[in-house]
């Protein structure tokens, strides 16, 4: 409450005294009214670990990885200015046998530079931010949802193997079916002849 001009105007001492009394009582009453209103208003704070305030749309928290898209190309690790990303996977034909994809959050500065070079757009900045621990070793997080091969991958590998085997078998039967027709097809004996020629060369 600001003092008005008329409240500051010079007056006689006794009027000044009573004006002080009146203003003190009034301003205290107004202030208490305001705090009483606030007393019953809904608190703006939240009970943090149980409920969290919403994070921004572009918030840069702990990464998450779309592992089924990732091709283990190392682009993000190369882009990282402090080398905190490491990944390891073995190739099984077209499939990846994942061993690890670790981010060292002791180092990570959440700069988002790892996100841009990704050719598959599979690493993102997440919304999680609470990295509270009593042991710094636990700050090296593995972003993999699974390790090794998934059932799906195994099925796909088995399918590919079966396809390959079927192809090979088909070729074999074709080869096996070919000899009776060999006299009729003069180019077939030529085909084995080509390697022979190579060997000779």
């Amino acid at each position: 409450m600001t003092l008005l001009e008329k409240d500051r105007a010079p007056v006689s001492a006794s009027r000044h005294y009573w004006r002080n009394v009146f203003q003190t009582v009034k301003s205290t009453a107004v202030g208490m009214g305001i705090t009483f209103k606030y007393l019953w208003s809904k608190p703006v704070t939240v009970q943090y670990p149980d409920e969290k305030l919403p994070t921004d749309e572009r918030y840069r928290g702990i990464h998450y990885l779309e592992q089924d898209l990732c091709i283990c190309c190392d682009a993000c690790a190369k882009a990282c200015p402090i080398d905190c990303i490491e990944m390891d996977a073995t190739r099984q034909g077209k499939e990846l046998d994942w061993h690890s994809f670790t981010l060292d959050y002791q180092k990570c500065m959440f700069c988002e530079l790892c996100v841009y070079p990704c050719p598959k757009d599979c690493i993102h900045m997440g919304k999680e931010y609470a990295l509270v621990t009593e042991d710094r070793g636990t700050l090296v997080l593995d972003l993999l949802g699974w390790k090794g091969l998934t059932e799906e991958q195994k099925v796909r590998i088995a399918d590919a193997e079966a396809k390959k085997a079927a192809k090979a078998a088909a070729k074999k039967t074709k080869d096996a079916a070919a000899p009776p027709a060999a006299p009729a097809a003069p180019e077939v004996p030529e085909a084995p002849a080509a390697p022979d020629g190579d060997e000779e060369a």
Binding site: M32, I34, T35, Y38
Partner: protein, 380 residues
């Protein structure tokens, strides 16, 4: 009062003295114990019972008040306050804090005046507990029905100041001494408006006794309180406001918490205290708040009187318990207002405190005393 009246040697006089005390604890003991027990044993036993009752009540009430203070502070600042300990809105927070204070190291600093340093918390809490003796909790639920109840409370609560000066001086710390000196200056100046603001009700009731004051307000089915009396409310309301401002200063509550103003004096007189000794000062603050609010409730707000309470008069124990409940709730409401003021009004400077005390409260309370006398004259 002469010594023979306090310590009668003649058995008949002793029995009469015991009967005169109006003391619930001694009455109960007399009913239970066999006839041959000497009177001094009954008095001592009564004192022990009274002490246990006060100590239990003050501990529970202070813990509740501390929790309430933190909740009120939180909600006035649009946050939540303690929410974790014990489940429902952190109700066990004070218990956890109490256990923590009990387990903390009790440090007596090297340069301290050890006697004063150790005596001060005991003196401060002891005097705060002693003031509870005269509070009129309910019919038959007073430890002692003191004729000069209010006078007794004013006198004993002033001794607290000596304890605080002892604490400040004994701490061998400049900030502590500053706090203690401020306390002395503040209490000495606010003693005047505090005492004078109690005079209008004393004139109205014609008695210093808190029980007599409470019983005088029993009319209108329990609503004939001093503050509602149509002939005197115009004195009662301003005198209550002045009384309330004075008790804020007397109990060192914000905006008059200069003795422990943490932004300037670290923590004032209790800077050097830790653990259980610190918690004694803490308990004293809330005990003093309750006692002062109790005096206000008894003198202005009808004490234990409340509509509907007379229905219980058939069973004295139930009536007494309900009266204690009503009185405690009324006092706690005033304690809540003290908290509400604390979280509204910023702390005054020491010169502003003195100006308010001497230039405003003292003359205004004197005017109230004259007005009360005038009201009584006009009534008669």
């Amino acid at each position: 009062m002469n010594v023979a009246a306090i310590f009668p040697t003649d058995p008949a006089a002793a029995a009469a003295a015991l009967a005169q005390q109006g003391n619930l604890a001694t009455d109960a003991l007399q009913g239970v114990l066999p006839a041959g027990v000497p009177w001094w044993m009954i008095t001592l036993g009564g004192a022990g019972l009274g002490f246990a009752a006060i100590m239990g009540f003050v501990t529970v009430m202070s813990m509740f008040s501390i929790w309430l203070e933190r909740k009120v502070a939180g909600h006035i600042q649009v946050r939540l306050g303690p929410m974790r300990v014990g489940g429902w809105h952190g109700w066990a927070q004070s218990i956890a804090d109490g256990v923590k204070l009990l387990l903390k190291e009790d440090i007596v600093i090297l340069g301290a005046d050890k006697v004063l340093f150790k005596l001060a918390p005991a003196l401060v809490l002891g005097t705060a507990l002693a003031t509870f003796v005269a509070l009129p909790f309910g019919p038959g639920a007073m430890i002692a029905d003191v004729d000069l109840g209010v006078y007794f409370i004013i006198a004993i609560s002033s001794v607290t100041t000596i304890g605080i000066i002892m604490a400040g001086w004994g701490s061998n710390n400049k900030w502590s001494v500053y706090g203690a000196m401020r306390e002395a200056a503040q209490v000495a100046s606010y003693e005047i408006p505090f005492g004078l603001s109690l005079m209008p009700p004393v004139i109205y009731y014609g008695s210093f006794s808190l029980r007599a004051a409470t019983e005088a307000q029993a009319g209108w089915g329990g609503l004939h309180w001093y503050i509602f009396d149509p002939l005197t409310f115009w004195v009662a309301i301003p005198s209550f406001v002045l009384f309330f401002v004075s008790i804020l200063a007397e109990t060192k509550r914000a905006p008059f918490d200069l003795p422990e103003s943490e932004s300037e004096l670290v923590a004032g007189f209790h800077t050097e205290y830790s653990g259980i000794r610190f918690s004694f000062f803490f308990l004293e603050e809330y005990a003093a708040m309750f006692v002062m609010s109790g005096v206000g409730a008894a003198f202005w707000f009808g004490g234990w009187n409340f509509p509907g309470l007379s229905l219980l008069e058939g069973s004295p124990v139930l009536h007494s318990l309900a009266a204690v409940g009503v009185f405690t709730v009324k006092s706690m409401l005033l304690v809540f207002v003290m908290m509400w003021v604390r979280w509204t009004v910023p702390r005054l400077r020491i010169d502003q405190v003195m100006t308010l005390g001497y230039k405003y409260l003292t003359p205004l309370t004197l005017i109230c005393v004259f007005a009360a006398a005038l009201a009584e004259y006009l009534k008669s």
